[in-house]
Every structure is written in structure tokens, then in C-alpha cells.
């Protein structure tokens, strides 16, 4: 390919016209020189400048928005930060009447529900990503399955919550009861499942982050160069020697990025958890006991909060913001790096 004309405008178009006329001198005529190509008028240039300036203003709005979010939440949380300081994250009372606020159980619940959901969703997500990329299906069936998994993400969170209350909890209650009765000595099963709890919340949460993990891992796996796979197949490897040995190993950092992004989603997910986790301020190892998360705490307490509780909730929001922004930032950076490495190294 010849070098494409990068910067346009009159000089270039004129030279193209003259080249053309040189090649076919027979057609050179005065009318040909008067071409429709004309330099932009002053108005055009001014409009151009104005429009591009406007576009930059709107682009900057995004940056301003992120900064304002940090400033507003941080600013409103400031009185509570001064008041409670570090004890906010090390104690476990939330008592609006005595103005005692701390969020250790919420942080614990947020992390444990998200990590549990992440473990389940990664297991399923990676298998689904393999299923969708490693020639298990014809392209048309593959499209159908891709749509199904993506639609999982389209169902609103509050509908998952409703479904969780009336379907998931009754379904897993017999299993949970059996586990508690027979293996109750293990701390994970030490309490009976009375209704809402950590396990149903994590199960529903894992369904909600599954599409993210599956889609990002799928992209990472499809970015694995075909030559690598074919070379392995050519050596006589079976499909399941190639997939863990070559495909997953090459795509591992992308899959790790998918996990981090999925974790970010899980940490910030609100409604389904607010409906399913039981909103109880306790730190417990048991999978079946009610717990609470930062996001659910905000959803439940914010509407009726007084002035002081509101500041404490803003502090909790700031902690949630810091955790999710940190996790998402790490995930974005990992994925950017992986794509750059895989696409840059092979072409």
C-alpha cells in the first residue's frame, strides 16, 4: 500500500489533478482545471475550530465528572472521617440512635460474597469461554449461545433479587439444611439457612457477573494466535492437552483481568444483594448466615438516614468507591497490557 494521504487540503488535491492531466494529456482542457475541489472558506474553518473545541469540552466533562464524584463523596464523608477515623473499619456496630457507626461486617460481607461469587463465576465463565471459542459449535449455534450468555447481563438486578427470594432460597434450603445437620462442625456450615444469607446472595451474584467474566475471557482466548494451537494439534495433542497447556496458559493474564473486572462488578452490585443477603451486622464464617455489604447498607439505610448517619454512610460510600475504583483500575490496566502484548507480538 502506498502511504495514505494523511493531511488533505488544496495543495494535495491540486497535485493529484496535475498528475492526472500529465498522464492523459489529450483530456487537458480549461474546464478540467476548474475543479469542484475548493479550499475551505473562512466560515468553514471557524465552524471547524468551534466544533472541535466543543467536542473537547464535552470530552473534558467526563474527567470533570469523575473528579466531581470523588470530591462530592469525599467532601460529604469528611466530617465522619474526622469523627470516627480508623475505628470505622475495625468495629462492628451500626447504631443510629447512639451515633455509633462502623462497617467491619459490611466490608467482610462485601469481600466474602464477592470472592465466593467470583470463584463460582470464574469456573463457569472459563468453561463457557472455551465452549464458545474452541470449535465446539458451528458458528450459528455459537452466536445463539453468545446471545444467551449476554442476555444474562441484561436482566435487571432487582429482577434477579426477586427471583432469588422466591426461587433460589427455597431451592437450596434443603441442601443447606442437610449440610448443616451432617457437617455442622465445619465453620462454613455452622448455622442453618433460615432465609436470606451469604450463599444465596453469592449464587445470584455469580450469575450476574458470569457474562462479564465469560465475555472478557472469550476475548482473551480468541486473541491466542492460531499458529500456537495448530502447532500443538500437529504434535498430536488432544483438545484437552491443547486447551490447558497452550490456550489457557497464553490467555492466562487476560483471564486474570476478566476475574478482576468481574470482582469489581461484584463488589459494587447492590439490589440483588440488598434483597438476598439478610442485612445483618455480624462477622460470621458460615455460608448460611445473614450478612451485609457496603452497597446494601447504603441502599437500605440512606433513604431514612438523619444528618449524622448520612455522613457515616458517605464514609461507607467512599470506602466502596475506593475499593471498586482500585479493583477496576487494576483490571483495566491488565487487560490493556494483555491485548497490546498479544496483538502487538503476532502480526
Amino acid at each position: 500500500m502506498p502511504t495514505p494521504a494523511q493531511s488533505p487540503h488544496v495543495s494535495q488535491s491540486n497535485s493529484m489533478v496535475s498528475n492526472h492531466s500529465k498522464r492523459s494529456p489529450a483530456r487537458t482542457s480549461p474546464t478540467f482545471e476548474v475543479s469542484v475541489v475548493s479550499p475551505p472558506s473562512t466560515t468553514d474553518v471557524l465552524v471547524d475550530r468551534g466544533f472541535r473545541g466543543l467536542a473537547y469540552v464535552f470530552a473534558w466533562l467526563t474527567i470533570v465528572l469523575v473528579c466531581t464524584i470523588l470530591y462530592e463523596i469525599g467532601g460529604h464523608a469528611f466530617p465522619a472521617i474526622q469523627e470516627y477515623g480508623l475505628s470505622f473499619v475495625t468495629q462492628s456496630t451500626w447504631d443510629a440512635n447512639n451515633a455509633q457507626f462502623s462497617v467491619l461486617p459490611e466490608i467482610w460481607g462485601t469481600l466474602s460474597s464477592s470472592l465466593l461469587a467470583l470463584a463460582i463465576a470464574t469456573f463457569f465463565g472459563v468453561f463457557i469461554a472455551i465452549f464458545l471459542t474452541q470449535d465446539f459449535l458451528t458458528p450459528r449455534v455459537e452466536r445463539v449461545f453468545t446471545t444467551i450468555f449476554e442476555l444474562l447481563a441484561a436482566i435487571p438486578s432487582v429482577v434477579y433479587g426477586l427471583w432469588g427470594i422466591y426461587i433460589v432460597i427455597p431451592t437450596i434450603r434443603p441442601i443447606a439444611t442437610w449440610l448443616h445437620e451432617h457437617l455442622g462442625t465445619i465453620p462454613f456450615f455452622s448455622t442453618p439457612l433460615s432465609g436470606p444469607g451469604l450463599l444465596p446472595a453469592s449464587l445470584v451474584l455469580s450469575i450476574m457477573i458470569l457474562p462479564t467474566i465469560a465475555a472478557v475471557s472469550r476475548d482473551a482466548i480468541s486473541a491466542v494466535p492460531n499458529q500456537l494451537r495448530e502447532a500443538a494439534y500437529g504434535l498430536g495433542a488432544t483438545r484437552w492437552q491443547v486447551i490447558p497447556g497452550v490456550v489457557l496458559r497464553t490467555a492466562s493474564s487476560g483471564i486474570f483481568g476478566a476475574m478482576v473486572l468481574g470482582l469489581g462488578r461484584a463488589l459494587g452490585e447492590t439490589m440483588a444483594l440488598a434483597m438476598l443477603i439478610g442485612n445483618s451486622n455480624q462477622v460470621s464464617l458460615s455460608l448460611f448466615s445473614p450478612a451485609n455489604t457496603l452497597a446494601a447498607l447504603l441502599a437500605n439505610n440512606f433513604p431514612e438516614a438523619g444528618k449524622v448517619e448520612e455522613q457515616a454512610l458517605m464514609f461507607a460510600a467512599l470506602i466502596l468507591l475506593a475499593i471498586t475504583l482500585g479493583v477496576n483500575m487494576i483490571g483495566t490496566v491488565i487487560i490493556d497490557r494483555t491485548t497490546r502484548r498479544l496483538t502487538g507480538g503476532t502480526s
Binding site: S13, L54, A55, W60, T62, T238, A274, T324
Partner: protein, 303 residues
């Protein structure tokens, strides 16, 4: 050198490439493939379970009065959620009015004006951060910056909260759409002496329009289902947004999602059934918009 017969035998012995289940690796491979199919099918169950439950429990009570009446009080019979549907549409409309122009103008910078510039890099990073931004925090932020300032829960506040969630989706999909416009078209226009603005308006935007629309529809579908940002920005209401000829835009506003949340935990049968019916309507709405957006994107690929 031996005789040809031995040579072929030597080559043949290690090259045993017959497919047989008796090889351990083949057996493992078949087993794991079966497991993969099984897992894929299991992962489809939640979607179908949600849909069948919605149709079963919500579909029973689907009737016209749901769309024309306001929510009932605790022990009352009947009632509907017409005001919540209107509220959802109004707030998503406000959100789209804010986020679509901002998102597309931002995407113009990301894709056209200076894809490699520092502004673009920072904006892209901010947009990616916002995609993972917890929806409840959009509500908290809007509460602090809009509700506290205007002094009231309102539909515009809800719309602003939703627009924060829509903005990154619109912006990043529009960027991809503009980047996929063939370079030749761009260069042809520049070669005619067009300014960058003319190229954007007459070449890039018309060509990228269907894909950008897909992004907008996906964003609308997401926003319509969001509850958390509305909980303490629009709150809830049992009245229409226009009641007795008076508009109540700056009053608390109902939405389908918040209605489902409020009615999901109540012990009153009628309200609970309304929650299921509302969930069915909401999911139908969201899935229709979502699938239309996807169909639009698919129809583009044939060109």
C-alpha cells in the same frame, strides 16, 4: 540401511494416530468436552428459570388495568403501575438526553480529533472506570450534588443518576463505531478539501450511526432496569407525573424497578403479584430494546 520393510515398520510404530477411547488422553479429552457441554447447559438454566418464572407468576395477572392504574395500598385489591412505567420512561429519557450528546461528542474526540492525544487517553481511562462504577454510588453522588441542592427528590435527579451509568456505554461504543468507518472514506473526504468537522458530520456520523444507535439502545436497556441510583434520587410515588393537569416533575417519581424492590418483600399478596407483573413488563421492555439493538448491529455486519 536396512531393507525398506523394516524402515516402514520403524516409522509406523511410534506414529500410532488411531483414535481410540483406550488412550488415557483421549478419554480425558472426551470427558472434559462432555463436562464443558454440561456446564454450558447449566449456565443457561438461570436465564430460562427467570423467564419462565416471570411468565408464569407475572403473566397470570397481566391485564390492561396494570397500565392505567396507580399502585394499591397494602390491603387494597386491584391497582396497577401505569405511573411507574411513565416514570421509568421519563427518567430514562432525561438520562438519554444528557448522556447521548455528551457521549457522542466525547467519542468524536476519542476517535477523530485526537485518538492518541493525552486528553483522549485520560478520557478513555475515565470512561472505562465509569463502566465499573457501582450504580449505588451514582445514586449517592446525585443525592449529594442534586437532591441536596434542589432540596427535593425528583425525576431529573433520577435521570442525572442514570445518565452517569449510560455515559460510558454510549461513549465507548460510539468510539468503536466511528473507528470502524473505513479509512478510505475519510481520506476521500479530506482529499476533497473538507474540514474535519465536515468529514465528521457528512461521512463519519452517518456511516457510524447504526452502530452508535446500538450502543445507545444497550445503554437505555441497562438504565431502564437500574434500581439503586433511583432509590434516593427519585424515591417513589403513588401518583402520576401529570396529575389533575398539574405536572409534578420536581416531585418524587415512581419507577418500575423501585416498585419491584418495594413490593418484593411485602407480606401482601396483591402487591407481591404486582411486583411479579412489573418484573415481567420491565424484563420484556429491557430485552426488547436490548435485542433490537443487537439485531441492528448484526444487520450492519453484512455490508
Amino acid at each position: 540401511m536396512n531393507s525398506p520393510a523394516t524402515t516402514t515398520a520403524d516409522i509406523n510404530t511410534p506414529l500410532n494416530i488411531k483414535w481410540s477411547l483406550r488412550h488415557r488422553s483421549t478419554l480425558v479429552s472426551v470427558g472434559l468436552s462432555g463436562l464443558t457441554y454440561f456446564i454450558a447447559v447449566v449456565a443457561c438454566i438461570p436465564l430460562f428459570s427467570v423467564l419462565t418464572m416471570l411468565i408464569w407468576r407475572g403473566g397470570q395477572h397481566l391485564s390492561l388495568r396494570l397500565f392505567t392504574e396507580t399502585p394499591p395500598s397494602a390491603f387494597a385489591e386491584g391497582g396497577g403501575f401505569g405511573n411507574a412505567i411513565v416514570g421509568t420512561i421519563v427518567m430514562v429519557g432525561i438520562a438519554a438526553l444528557i448522556s447521548v450528546p455528551c457521549g457522542i461528542m466525547g467519542a468524536i474526540v476519542l476517535a477523530e480529533c485526537g485518538p492518541e492525544s493525552r486528553t483522549a487517553t485520560i478520557v478513555r481511562f475515565c470512561a472505562k472506570l465509569l463502566t465499573g462504577f457501582p450504580s449505588i454510588l451514582a445514586g449517592v453522588f446525585t443525592y449529594a450534588s442534586v437532591v441536596l441542592v434542589t432540596g427535593t427528590y425528583s425525576a431529573p435527579a433520577g435521570g442525572i443518576a442514570l445518565s452517569i451509568l449510560m455515559l460510558p456505554i454510549v461513549m465507548l461504543t460510539a468510539e468503536e463505531a466511528m473507528k470502524s468507518v473505513p479509512r478510505k472514506m475519510r481520506e476521500a473526504a479530506y482529499g476533497m478539501g473538507a474540514t474535519q468537522t465536515q468529514v465528521i458530520w457528512h461521512v463519519i456520523l452517518p456511516t457510524a450511526l447504526p452502530s452508535m444507535l446500538t450502543g445507545v439502545m444497550l445503554a437505555v436497556a441497562r438504565a431502564a432496569g437500574e434500581t439503586a441510583p433511583l432509590l434516593f434520587t427519585a424515591l417513589n410515588s403513588n401518583y402520576w407525573i401529570i396529575q389533575d393537569g398539574q405536572q409534578a416533575l420536581m416531585e418524587p417519581t415512581a419507577s418500575l424497578a423501585v416498585l419491584i424492590y418495594n413490593f418484593s418483600g411485602v407480606p401482601f399478596k396483591n402487591q407481591l403479584e404486582l411486583a411479579w407483573a412489573a418484573a415481567l413488563v420491565l424484563v420484556l421492555l429491557v430485552l426488547t430494546v436490548n435485542l433490537c439493538g443487537r439485531a441492528l448491529a448484526d444487520s450492519q455486519k453484512h455490508y
